[in-house]
Amino acid sequence: MSLTLENISRVVGAETHIHPTDLTLEPGTMNVLLGPTSSGKTSLMRLMAGLDQPTTGRILWKGDDVTGQRVQDRKVAMVYQQFINYPSMSVYDNIASPLRLMGLKKDEIDTRVRGTADLMQLSPMLDRRPLELSGGQQQRCALARALVKNAGLVLLDEPLANLDYKLREELRAEIPNIFERSGSIFVYATTEPEEALLLGGHCATLWQGRVTQFGPTPTVYRRPADATTARVFSDPPMNFLKVEKSGDRISFGTDQTLPSGTIACGVADGTYLAGFRPNHLSLTPGADTLSFDTELTVTEITGSETFVHLDHHGERWVGLVHGVETLEPGQVLTVHLDPAHVYLFDADGALVQAAPYAEAA
C-alpha cells in the first residue's frame, strides 16, 4: 500500500510546475506537504491523484504502475480547500455516492455512511443539503465523503484554510484521530509550519516546484537540509546573517567573534550563512549571547506576543518576543541571540552545521 513517485515532473507550456521528484510514501503514514502558495503542493497532489498526467516519470501504487490510469479506477480520495460537495444531493447521498458507485449493498452503504457521519459529527444533518450547513460542516461532509470509501490514498489540499480559527483548531485536532483509524496514506498540504508540526508524521517541504527535503516532520524542522527548507519551515521566515569563519574564531558582523568550537567545530574556513529562527531572538541578554543593534521598522502585537520587524544593516529580520512590548518604530533596538540556536549554511545554501540545541534534542 505504498505510493512511489519516480522522477515525476510536470511542465505546462513554458512553466515547470514540478521539477523531477522522487518520493515514496509509506503505508499508513501521515505526510505533510509544506510550502508557500504556488510552491507546487496542489500540482503534486493532482499528480498523485491522477487528475493531471506527469510530463516525465512513473507513479507506482503497491508496486504497480498506475501512471496513465483513469482517476475513476484509482483508489484515491481528495478534499479541496474550497468546500466541494454535490449541492443537489442531501448530505447522506453525498457521503453515500462513492459507495453506490462501487456497487455495494444497500444496508452496507447505510452502515458505513452512518458510521462515518458519526465520526464526523454529521449525524443530525444527514437529510440537509450541503449549502444549508455551516462552512465547517460542509468541509466535514467533504471529509466524510473522502473517508467513507476507505481509499488507500487520502489527499487533503489545505482542507482547513477556508475555515475560521476555532473550527480549524477543532478539525485539526480530529484529523490525526481519523487518520489513525483509517490506516490509509494521508497526504496533507498546508502553508503553515505550525500545522505541519502539529500533524507530525512525515513532511516534504516544497519550494518553487521542488521537494527540498522529505523526512520525519520533527527532523525536517530541527535539521533542515538547506536554507530554503529552513525558510519554508519557519513562520515568520528564518533570519539570515553572513558570518566569517577563520581559524578558531567565527565573526558575526563587524566586531563580534566567538570561539568557533561552540557552533562550528570541524568546519572549514570561509564565509557562511548563519540562520536563526525569530523566536530565538530575545530582548534581554543572557550568558554568552551575541547582540546586534538593529533599527525597528514595525511592531505587531498579537495578544501575548510581539513580532518585531528589524533592519540589520540592510537585512530584514523578524523577532518574536514574549509579552507585549511597546516600542517606537525607528528606534534602535538591541537584540540578543544565543549561539546555540544558530544554523550554518554554506554559500549554496546547504546545511553545514545544525544548531547545537537541535542536535541535543
Binding site: 491523484a49 487528475l51 483513469r70 482517476v71 475513476q72 484509482r74 484515491v76 480520495a77 481528495m78 479541496y80 474550497q82 466541494i84 454535490y86 449541492p87 443537489s88 444531493m89 455516492s97 462513492p98 458507485l101 462501487m102 467533504a142 465523503r145 470509501k149
Partner: protein
C-alpha cells in the same frame, strides 16, 4: 402619581411620534396620488393596451369590430375561439408550431450542452475565436438564410416538414444556447467535476446526475430563449413550409377570404399565441435577467 405623570410624556413621546409618522406615511402611500404610483399606472396602461385591445377584439363579433368604437365587448362571444379550436386548418397551426418549437428546443439543448461544457472546461487552439464566431449566425437577419435553406431543403426532400424548421432555427438557437449555458457552467467550480471523477463517476453519469442539476436554471433559461425565438420567428418557418407543417403565425397571415378578413378569429388566434410564451416566461422569470446577460452576472 406625580412621578407617573411626569414620566409618562418623557418615556412615551418618542415612540408615539414615530408611530404617528409611520402611520401617516403608510396612509399616504395607500391613498395619496404618489408620483411612482401614477408612473406605474401609466406604464402598465401603455404596456397592456395592445394586449387588452387584442383580447377585446377576440371577444367581439366582426360587426362590432368594424362598426362602433367600444372599449369593451357589448355582445361578448366565444365564437371566435370555438372557430379556432374546431377548425383543423386553425388548430393544426398551433400543433405544427409546437411540434417544431419543441423539436428545436430539444435539438438545441442536446447539442449545446456538451459544446458549452467543452468551452467552459477546456482550453484548445482557437477556442476564444470559435466561441465568439459562433454568434455570426445571429449577426445576419434570418431572411438572409431563407433562400439557401429553401433551396437545400427542397432538393433533399425536407421541405414542408417539422424537422426542416427545427433545424433551420437551430442555426440561430444553438449558438445562443451555448453562450448562455457556458456562462452558467463557468460558475460551477471545476473541483466538483474532479471530485466526482475521484468518487468514481464516469463522465456521462457525472454530467447527468451531478452537473445538470447544478445548472438547471441555466438549462431552463436556454430552453426559454430557444422556445421564444422559434415560437415568434415567422420568415423561415413560413418559407420552409406549405401545408403539412404550416405554423400558426403563417396561418394568421393568410386569413383573407372571400368575405374579407375575419378580424375576430384573427384576434382570438393572437391571444392563444401569446399564452405558450407567457407560460414559459412565467417558469423562468427568476433567471431571465441572468439569461439576458448570457449567464455572466
Amino acid at each position: 402619581m406625580t412621578d407617573a405623570t411626569a414620566q409618562a410624556p418623557g418615556a412615551s413621546s418618542l415612540p408615539e411620534d414615530l408611530t404617528a409618522e409611520r402611520n401617516a406615511s403608510r396612509v399616504g402611500r395607500r391613498f395619496g396620488p404618489s408620483g411612482s404610483a401614477v408612473v406605474m399606472v401609466l406604464y402598465l396602461l401603455f404596456l397592456m393596451l395592445p394586449i387588452y385591445w387584442l383580447l377585446n377584439m377576440s371577444l367581439k363579433t366582426n360587426n362590432e369590430i368594424l362598426g362602433a368604437f367600444s372599449l369593451w365587448p357589448r355582445n361578448a362571444t366565444l365564437q371566435n375561439y370555438v372557430t379556432i379550436l374546431t377548425d383543423p386548418s386553425w388548430y393544426m397551426g398551433y400543433v405544427n408550431s409546437l411540434i417544431y418549437v419543441l423539436m428545436n428546443t430539444a435539438i438545441s439543448l442536446t447539442v449545446a450542452l456538451p459544446a458549452a461544457y467543452a468551452f467552459s472546461r477546456y482550453n484548445f487552439m482557437g477556442d476564444k475565436h470559435l466561441f465568439f464566431w459562433l454568434l455570426t449566425n445571429r449577426m445576419a437577419p434570418p431572411a438572409v438564410f431563407a433562400l439557401p435553406f429553401f433551396q437545400l431543403y427542397s432538393s433533399v426532400g425536407l421541405f414542408d416538414t417539422h424537422i426542416a424548421v427545427a433545424l433551420a432555427h437551430a442555426l440561430f438557437n444553438v449558438p445562443l444556447a451555448v453562450w448562455i449555458l457556458e456562462g452558467f457552467m463557468r460558475g460551477v467550480p471545476k473541483e466538483i467535476d474532479e471530485t466526482a471523477y475521484i468518487d468514481g463517476y464516469s463522465f456521462g453519469r457525472f454530467f447527468v446526475k451531478i452537473f445538470m442539476p447544478l445548472i438547471s436554471s441555466g438549462i431552463g433559461v436556454a430552453a426559454f430563449f430557444c422556445f421564444m425565438f422559434s415560437w415568434v420567428e415567422l420568415l423561415l418557418s413560413r418559407t420552409l413550409t406549405s401545408v403539412d407543417a404550416k405554423p400558426i403565425a403563417a396561418t394568421m397571415t393568410r386569413t383573407g377570404g372571400a368575405g374579407g378578413i375575419d378580424w375576430g378569429v384573427l384576434a382570438a388566434a393572437g391571444v392563444l399565441t401569446i399564452i405558450p410564451g407567457a407560460l414559459v416566461v412565467f417558469f423562468v422569470r427568476n433567471y431571465i435577467a441572468k439569461g439576458f446577460a448570457l449567464g455572466r452576472v
